[in-house]
C-alpha cells in the first residue's frame, strides 16, 4: 500500500502520490504565514491513539510539564493546550489502559505544535514489539487530513463516505438519479469505468445501490479512504482515471459497540467487539425501507403494477485474529443485492413496443482472506485472496433480456521493506481469473458520446457466451530521500492479460515531493497507465475480442501551503493524454482509434477540525475532450464540467461531557454543503423522422456535445442532535437536500418529433429524517 505521512483514524487523505518540484517564481508569490499579533505564547495540539489498534484513546488524562491541572483528551483522542510559553516542554500521558508515555516538544511563539502519539497498551511488551505497519503511528508532525467522523456529517451524502468523494476537487457531479455517468465516479475528466474503487486492495464490482442511491458498503466499518485522482504509484493499476482506495477497520477494539439506524431510505445495524484477547469482529447489514411505503403512495393506474418495489440490501462481516505480535489473519465477507420489478400492461407513450414485465436484479458476494506479517519493524508482507461471484439479470418485455454471471478469484501480495531510514522498497504481485457467462437479447449498451435511436427500435444482439479472462500484475518501486526535504519515488508496473489476444504492458511512474520549508510542499508526478477494455467490448457477441488496452499518460504539478488558523491551501495542475481508447466502429463493432486530452487546475482551501469547526472550499477548472477516430472532430467529454465549486462546512456544539462507555456526548452538529457546477455538455437533436413501424420519431443528432445545460447550484443542510446516556446514545438527524428548492436542469427532453424542447428538472427539496441508537 502507499506510504502515508500521517494516519489519523477513519480518515480521507488527499492524494500524496502527486509530488512536485515547482519553479522559484511561484515560491516568491507564495506568502509566508503571517505572524499573528497577540500574546507571545504557543499552542499544542495532538491526538492520542492506541499503537496496536490505531483507535483513539478516549478521555486519556495527561499533564504538561508535570504540573497544573490534569487535562483530558476528547472523544476522538484529541487535545489542545493554549498559552504555553515558548521553549521546551514535556507531556506525560497516564491512561490506565496504556503504559505511561513521556515526550518532549518545543513551543514557538504564535505557532501551533502538533503531536501524534501512539500509546502502548498496558499489557504489551514494550521492547521488540512489532506492529502491523498500517496501524503504526509514531510521534511526528502530521499532515492535515479530513476525518471520517466529520465527513459522515456532510449534508446531502446521507452519511455515505464514498459519496463524500464526490465533494472532492476534480470529481464531476453526477446525474440526479445517481452517481456520475451512471454507476461510478467521474474523476478528472475520465469515464467512470476508467477509475477503480478498491476495498482492502481488491476491486468492488459495484459502488452504489441502484446507480447512486447509497453506497453498497457501510461507511461505519471503514477506517480510511485514500482518494487518488491521478499520478498514483505502481501499487495501483488497471485504471487510467483515478483510484478510491477504501480500507476497512481492523477488528481489534477492546469493547463492544454498535448501533441501530432507521430512516425513510433504509434500516440497518452494526455491532463490533472482541472475542477473547486476540480476536475481534464486526458485523453490519442494511435493508432498504422504500418498498414498505412506496407502493402505498403510487396511484393505482390501469396498465401499471409495481410487482416488486425497489429493494436493496447489503452486509459486511469481518473477523481479525492476531495469534502473535506482528501477524494478523482476517476473513471478511460482504455482498449486496438490488432488485426491482414492475408490469407494464400498456406501453409508455414514448416507446410503444415496451410492455410486459420489466425487471432487474443485481448482486455480488465476496469472501476475503488476508494475512499480514510484520516480523520486525523494517518490513511487512501483506497477502490476500478473494473469491466471489457477480450476477445480474434484466428483462424488458418479452424479447429483451440480459443475464450475466461472473465467478472470480484473485490473489495479491504486497511487500514493503524499509531498507534504511532514507530508502523504502515496495514490490508486489497480483493474479486473477474471472469467467464471464453471458446470455442476452439486447441492443448494444450505450457508449460515452453516443446518442441512441429509440430503444425499442435498436437492433437486438442475441446469443450466449463464456469468456475467461486471466491477469497477472507485478510491480516494484522505491522511495528515496537523498535530502531531508526531498523524497523521490520511482517504480515500474507490469499488467498482463490473457483473453483471445494476450497483451502485456509496462508502466514506468515517477514522483517527487520537496519540502521547501515547514508548511510548504511541492509535488510533481508523471506516469504511464493502461487499462483493459470492458468485458462487453471484448465480447464475441457484442464487441471485438481483438481490442488492445487503453492507455494514458498523467502529468501532475502542485504545491501545498499551510496557513494560519489551521488552514491549508492546495493547488494542483494536471494533464492527461489518452490514446487507444475504445470507440464504436462500423466494421468491427469497436476499435482502439479513440484519443483524449484532459487538463485542469484544482484549488482547495481546507480548515481541519479545530474548535469544533471544519470545512473546505474546492474549485476545479477543467477541460476534457475526445476524438472518436480518424476523420472525426474533437468533442467535449460527456461529463466535461468546466467549473466545479464545492463548499463544505461543519460545526459541533457539544452541551455535555463525553460518556466513556461509548465516547459520545450531548450536543448539536451542523453541516452545510454548497455546489456550483457547469452544466454537462449535451448533443442537440436537430430533427426527427417518423418511424411508421414503431409509431415514433427517430432523432437526428447535431454536433456531439455542442451545447451545455445551464449551471447547477444547490445547498444542502444537516443538523444532528445526540442524547448521550451512560451506556447508550440516541441521535436524531435531519438532512435537507436542495434547501432553496432550485430545480436544476438535468437533461433536455423533447416533444414527440424533436421540434420542441424543455429541460427535465432535477429533484426538489428533499428532507431526509433519521434516528440512530448507539451503544
Amino acid at each position: 500500500m502507499s506510504p502515508r505521512a500521517s494516519v489519523w483514524p477513519m480518515q480521507i487523505s488527499i492524494s500524496r502520490r502527486s509530488i512536485l518540484f515547482l519553479a522559484t517564481i511561484a515560491l516568491v508569490a507564495i506568502p509566508r504565514g503571517r505572524a499573528v499579533c497577540g500574546p507571545a505564547t504557543g499552542v499544542l495540539e495532538g491526538i492520542l491513539e492506541d499503537k496496536i489498534t490505531g483507535q483513539p484513546v478516549i478521555g486519556a488524562p495527561f499533564k504538561i510539564d508535570g504540573r497544573g491541572p490534569v487535562q483530558i483528551a476528547d472523544e476522538r483522542g484529541k487535545f489542545k493546550v493554549t498559552g504555553l510559553a515558548p521553549g521546551k516542554h514535556s507531556l506525560r500521558v497516564f491512561d490506565p489502559e496504556h503504559q505511561p508515555t513521556n515526550v518532549s516538544f518545543k513551543i514557538k511563539a504564535a505557532k501551533t505544535t502538533r503531536l501524534s502519539l501512539a500509546l502502548d497498551p498496558a499489557n504489551s511488551q514494550e521492547e521488540e514489539e512489532v506492529v502491523i505497519r498500517a496501524k503504526r503511528l509514531d510521534q511526528e508532525v502530521v499532515d492535515r487530513v479530513i476525518e471520517v467522523d466529520e465527513a459522515k456529517k456532510i449534508p446531502g451524502t446521507q452519511g455515505d463516505i464514498i459519496k463524500i468523494v464526490q465533494s472532492m476537487p476534480g470529481v464531476a457531479r453526477g446525474l440526479a438519479m445517481g452517481g456520475s455517468a451512471g454507476p461510478g465516479i467521474v474523476i478528472r475528466g475520465s469515464a467512470p469505468e476508467d477509475s477503480k474503487v478498491l476495498i482492502d486492495g481488491h476491486e468492488v464490482p459495484l459502488l452504489y445501490h441502484f446507480g447512486g442511491l447509497k453506497s453498497v458498503f457501510n461507511s461505519d466499518v471503514l477506517k480510511r479512504i485514500d482518494f487518488l485522482p491521478g499520478g498514483f504509484g505502481v501499487t495501483y493499476g488497471e485504471a487510467t482515471g483515478g483510484i478510491v482506495d477504501v480500507q476497512t477497520q481492523p477488528c481489534t477494539g477492546r469493547r463492544y459497540d454498535g448501533y441501530v439506524d432507521l430512516s425513510l431510505l433504509d434500516a440497518g445495524f452494526l455491532v463490533k467487539g472482541p472475542i477473547g484477547d486476540k480476536i475481534g469482529f464486526f458485523a453490519a447489514a442494511r435493508r432498504s425501507t422504500i418498498d414498505m411505503w412506496l407502493p402505498e403512495v403510487i396511484p393505482d393506474v390501469s396498465g401499471f403494477e409495481m410487482t416488486v418495489a425497489p429493494v436493496y440490501y447489503d452486509y459486511q462481516a469481518k473477523v481479525d485474529w492476531s495469534p502473535v505480535e506482528g501477524d494478523r489473519l482476517s476473513i471478511m465477507a460482504f455482498g449486496s443485492r438490488d432488485e426491482m420489478k414492475f408490469l407494464l400492461n400498456k406501453p409508455p407513450s414514448g416507446d410503444p413496443s415496451l410492455r410486459g414485465d420489466m425487471s432487474m436484479w443485481v448482486d455480488f458476494h465476496r469472501l476475503y482472506l488476508s494475512w499480514t506479517h510484520a516480523p520486525d519493524k523494517d518490513w511487512q508482507l501483506s497477502t490476500s485472496l478473494t473469491g466471489g461471484i457477480d450476477r445480474a439479470k434484466m428483462g424488458i418485455g418479452s424479447e429483451r433480456y440480459l443475464s450475466i454471471s461472473v465467478p472470480s478469484l484473485e490473489g495479491r501480495a504486497d511487500l514493503e521493506w524499509e531498507y534504511s531510514p532514507d530508502i523504502t522498497i515496495r514490490a508486489g504481485l497480483k493474479s486473477g481469473v474471472a469467467n464471464f457467462d453471458t446470455s442476452m437479447s439486447m441492443p448494444r449498451p450505450p457508449k460515452e458520446g453516443e446518442v441512441p435511436s429509440r430503444f425499442s427500435t435498436q437492433e437486438l444482439i442475441e446469443g450466449s457466451e463464456s469468456l475467461t479472462v486471466g491477469s497477472v500484475s507485478a510491480w516494484a518501486g522505491f522511495d528515496f530521500r537523498p535530502l531531508p526535504a526531498l523524497m523521490l519515488t520511482a517504480g515500474l508496473r507490469m499488467d498482463s492479460y490473457t483473453r483471445p489476444v494476450s497483451e502485456a504492458a509496462l508502466m514506468p511512474r515517477f514522483s517527487l515531493r520537496y519540502t521547501l520549508r515547514p508548511g510548504t510542499v511541492f509535488r510533481a508526478a508523471v506516469g504511464l497507465y493502461y487499462e483493459v477494455p470492458q468485458p462487453d467490448e471484448l465480447s464475441e457477441i457484442l464487441g471485438n475480442p481483438d481490442l488492445l488496452m487503453e492507455r494514458a499518460w498523467h502529468f501532475t504539478l502542485g504545491f501545498e501551503q499551510r496557513l494560519p488558523a489551521d488552514v491549508e491551501l492546495s493547488v494542483q495542475a494536471f494533464t492527461k493524454s489518452l490514446d487507444r481508447l475504445v470507440v464504436p466502429d462500423d466494421e468491427t463493432m469497436y476499435s482502439n482509434q479513440g484519443t483524449g486530452k484532459i487538463s485542469g487546475l484544482e484549488i482547495m482551501i481546507r480548515r481541519n477540525l479545530s474548535d469544533n469547526l471544519f470545512g473546505w472550499v474546492a474549485y476545479t477548472l477543467m477541460r476534457s475532450k475526445r476524438l472518436d477516430g480518424p476523420g472525426k472532430t474533437w468533442r467535449l467529454f460527456d461529463f466535461d464540467q468546466t467549473h466545479i465549486l464545492t463548499l463544505v462546512l461543519g460545526y459541533r456544539l457539544p452541551t455535555g461531557p463525553v460518556q466513556p462507555a461509548h465516547g459520545l456526548r450531548d450536543g448539536w452538529e451542523f453541516g452545510l454543503r454548497f455546489q456550483f457546477v457547469s452544466g454537462n455538455p449535451i448533443t442537440p437533436i436537430v430533427a426527427g423522422v417518423f418511424d411508421a413501424d414503431y409509431d415514433t420519431y427517430q432523432p437526428v443528432p447535431g454536433d456531439p456535445n455542442s451545447e451545455r445545460l445551464p449551471y447547477f447550484h444547490q445547498l444542502d443542510l444537516r443538523v444532528d442532535y445526540t442524547w448521550a446516556f451512560s451506556w447508550w446514545a440516541l441521535s436524531v438527524y435531519l438532512d435537507v437536500q436542495n434547501v432553496y428548492n432550485h430545480r436544476a436542469a438535468e437533461m433536455v427532453r423533447y416533444n414527440y418529433d424533436f421540434t420542441q424542447r424543455a429541460y427535465l428538472e432535477g429533484l426538489p427539496v428533499i428532507p431526509y429524517l433519521g434516528i440512530k441508537g448507539s451503544f
Binding site: S349, E459, D693
Partner: protein, 293 residues
C-alpha cells in the same frame, strides 16, 4: 456488472421519462403536416410480389393545399449517433409514385442492391436469430412537402423468400363511440367538455399466430392501436387488445374534449392498428364538436 447497471439505469430513466407528464402538446394532437402511418401491401415481400405503398398524411392546417410526395427504397443505419436519416435521398432507389402511393417488386430491388454490391442473401428476412446473418437495414422512405413545410417518414422492408407464414396486414373494421357502432361515413356530434369512450373494432381473424423458427413457441400478434385527432386529448396515446390482471380492457380509450387542446367545430380522428410485425391498417373518422352552451 457495470454494463448491466448502466443499461438498467438508462432503461429506467427512459421509461420514467416516457411516462412522466409532458410540457408539450401530445403526439395524438394533429395540428400541422404529419405522416401518421405508412403501409405496405403485402407487408412482407415475396419473390413474386409487387408491393404497394401508401401513407396516411394529415394536413389539417393546409386547407386543401397541394401536397408533393417522393418515395424511395433506402439503406438506413439507425444505430448510435447515426447522423441524418437521409431517406429519401442519399443512397436510395427512387420509386415512381405520388401522394396516392408507390410500388416496387423484388426483382427491381435485387437489381438495385446488386449495383450496390449486395445480393439476395443480404435481404432482411424474418428468420430465427441463429439464421439471421448481417441483413441489410432496408427501408422505404417518403418525403411530403406542402409549401414551406416538409416531413419525412420511414418504414422497414421485410422479405419472405421461404413463403412460410407470410405476414398479412391486420384489418380495422370500425369504431364504437360510447358503446354505439359508428357507421362508415357517418359524422357524429360530440359535446365540447365531454369524455367520449372509444372502442376499436378489428377483424380478429387477421390476428395471426406465428413462430420465429421451428424451436420457437407459438406467438400471437399484438394489436396495438394508435389514436390521433385534430382536437382534444386521449387518456392513452396507445391501447392494446388485451386485459390486465383485474380484467380491465386495455383497448378502450377515452377521448377528452376539454382543456386547452379542445375546440368546437369539425374534427378528424384517425385510428391505426399495428401487429408488431410491420403490418398495419387505419381508418379515418369525422366528428362535429359542439358546445353545449
Amino acid at each position: 456488472m457495470k454494463t448491466v447497471a448502466k443499461i438498467g439505469l438508462a432503461s429506467i430513466v427512459a421509461l420514467l421519462l416516457a411516462s412522466c407528464s409532458s410540457p408539450f402538446p401530445p403526439q395524438t394532437l394533429v395540428e400541422r403536416l404529419r405522416i401518421l402511418d405508412i403501409r405496405a401491401e403485402p407487408p412482407e415481400v415475396g419473390p413474386l410480389d409487387t408491393v404497394t405503398l401508401d401513407a396516411l398524411v394529415a394536413d389539417p392546417a393546409g386547407e386543401g393545399r397541394p401536397l408533393e410526395c417522393y418515395w424511395a427504397v433506402c439503406l438506413v443505419d439507425l444505430g448510435w449517433a447515426a447522423g441524418d436519416i437521409d431517406c429519401p435521398g442519399g443512397n436510395s432507389f427512387p420509386l415512381d409514385g405520388d401522394c396516392q402511393g408507390a410500388n416496387f417488386n423484388l426483382p427491381e430491388l435485387v437489381a438495385w442492391l446488386t449495383e450496390q454490391g449486395y445480393d439476395i442473401d443480404d435481404l432482411p428476412q424474418d428468420l430465427p436469430p441463429e439464421l439471421m446473418e448481417d441483413s441489410l437495414p432496408l427501408f422505404v422512405g417518403i418525403e411530403v412537402r406542402a409549401g414551406d413545410e416538409s416531413t419525412r417518414g420511414i418504414k422497414r422492408v421485410r422479405v419472405n423468400l421461404s413463403g412460410d407464414q407470410p405476414n398479412t396486414n391486420p384489418l380495422l373494421t370500425g369504431l364504437e363511440v360510447d358503446g354505439e357502432p359508428l357507421e362508415t361515413g357517418e359524422v357524429v356530434t360530440v359535446d365540447l367538455g365531454a369524455d367520449v369512450e372509444l372502442t376499436p373494432v378489428a377483424d380478429e381473424s387477421t390476428r395471426q399466430t406465428y413462430r420465429r423458427g421451428e424451436e420457437d413457441q407459438d406467438r400471437l400478434e399484438d394489436f396495438l392501436f394508435s389514436w390521433y385527432s385534430t382536437t382534444g386529448e386521449f387518456e392513452d396515446r396507445r391501447t392494446i387488445l388485451d386485459v390486465d390482471s383485474k380484467g380491465r380492457r386495455l383497448d378502450i380509450n377515452d377521448w377528452k374534449l376539454r382543456g386547452e387542446h379542445a375546440e368546437q367545430g369539425p374534427s378528424k380522428l384517425w385510428l391505426i392498428v399495428r401487429d408488431g410485425r410491420y403490418g398495419t391498417d387505419w381508418l379515418e373518422f369525422s366528428f362535429e364538436v359542439t358546445s353545449s352552451d
